[in-house]
């Protein structure tokens, strides 16, 4: 028996999301099991199952992350918006949608 992680795209256009894991003897059984367990109540566009052994993980350290975010403020729009506002200039809103 092997562990598989399951990912689903519920609606067209959305990214795949992790929904949980299943134990199964092989990939096809894993896909079927994930379907029965995680997709009973939802329509979906597609499902992926990935053997956990095939997954390489990087775990964040919250303290490290917090410091990293603080130190990269010069890469955030808010930093430059604040600079402009402090200098007496009202920056326009940018619609990116």
């Amino acid at each position: 028996m092997r562990e598989y992680e399951a990912f689903v795209r519920f609606r067209k256009g959305e990214p795949l999301q992790h929904v949980g894991s299943v134990r199964a003897p092989d990939p096809e059984s894993a896909a079927e099991a994930a379907y029965h367990i995680y997709l009973r109540l939802d329509t979906f566009e597609r499902l992926w199952v990935v053997d956990r052994e095939c997954i390489t993980e990087l775990v964040s350290d919250p303290e490290w992350d917090r410091r990293r975010i603080e130190e990269t403020e010069f890469r955030r729009p808010s930093f430059f918006v604040r600079k402009l506002t402090a200098a007496g200039y009202t920056p326009p809103k940018l619609s990116t949608g």
């Binding site: 990214p15 010069f74 890469r75 200098a87 326009p92």
Partner: protein, 312 residues
């Protein structure tokens, strides 16, 4: 949600596919699509991917010459973002069967060109943020439109790109503003002359109006959603107040029709545009040379890594 449920077309049914697209249907990775549709996606995405990475050497030059240490970081942050944009687009193209080597050869062999603004050099430090503000915002308008297209993987690429563009926009704007308001007369003039110069160039970035293009089938496939003039108009609406607030009147003929909201502006010379598009300026030759040089100097390492036996 009340959305109409569109039935995707059967495999091989090109007419059905077109009807599906016209009715607002979307295409996901792995769905069947006609060869022509696939080519349309790859053409648009390929052009954009090349644009994100080929001009890199320009930014190396400006980083070295930047008269401020502090500003190198956001500038290079923007550069890093652009390469990331090329990367996700190139990955999408690889998933569609177009290798990176094919994409880059398309550029080296002249099947893809850089877009119009990259024909012209940036000649001073003050001109750099003007160039960035105007050409970047033009790209934002174009990408925003593309994010509503029919090919969903590309829409996702565009949405990811858009999340980073707001930093690029405000950074360029703030640098323009700082030099204009706190700079010496010379620094201020560089920015303002830069804005005037790049305003005109950026207008061409959107491409010719409909009646002058060779009638590509973009309306059929809806990967591209808006026509060039519509996007040019959106951009003028967005940038005109900004450019004016920085003390520049870019075009004396610029005027908005009070009823239609449409901008009238000094006529653009599309005949000259079509001439120039076919030639390579010295700057473009430089880009090709740089690209070729780096390609060669990087390929041996890529090749070596590919040829390595798997580690024991």
């Amino acid at each position: 949600m009340g959305e109409p449920i569109l039935r995707p077309p059967a495999i091989g049914d090109v007419d059905g596919f077109v009807a599906y697209i016209q009715a607002g249907g979307k295409v996901e990775a792995g769905d069947w699509m006609p060869e022509e549709y696939k080519n349309e996606v790859m053409k648009i995405a390929g052009f954009q991917a090349i644009l994100e990475v080929v001009p890199m050497p320009l930014f190396r030059k400006w980083m070295y010459m930047a008269p401020t240490l502090w500003r190198r970081r956001p500038l290079l942050g923007k550069i890093q973002d652009e390469v990331g944009h090329c990367h996700i687009t190139a990955r999408m193209l690889e998933d569609m069967g177009k290798s990176r080597e094919e994409l880059f050869n398309d550029y080296l062999e002249g099947r893809i060109h850089l877009n119009y603004p990259f024909k012209f050099p940036v000649e001073s430090w003050g001109e750099l943020p003007a160039f960035l503000l105007l050409t970047n915002s033009a790209a934002i308008v174009q990408f925003r439109s593309l994010s509503h297209g029919s090919y969903l993987p590309y829409c996702r690429v565009m949405k990811k790109i858009m999340r980073e563009e707001s930093f690029h926009f405000y950074h360029a704007l703030q640098l323009c503003h700082e030099l204009v308001t706190e700079g010496t007369p010379r620094q201020r003039a560089q920015v303002q002359e830069g804005l005037a110069k790049w305003w005109h160039i950026a207008l061409y970035q959107f491409g010719p109006p409909e009646h002058l293009t060779k009638g590509r089938d973009w309306r059929k496939w809806r990967v591209k959603v808006d026509d060039n003039e519509a996007l040019r108009q959106q951009w003028i609406t967005m940038l005109y107040p900004i450019v004016r607030s920085l003390g520049v009147e870019p075009d004396p003929a610029l005027e908005r029709d009070p009823e239609t909201g449409e901008w009238r502006y000094s006529p653009l010379d599309w005949e000259r545009f079509f001439q120039l598009i076919r030639q390579r300026t010295p700057l473009e030759e430089w880009y090709v040379d740089e690209f070729r040089r780096t390609y060669q100097s990087d390929m041996w390492a890529i090749k070596a890594l590919k040829e390595l036996p798997l580690a024991a």
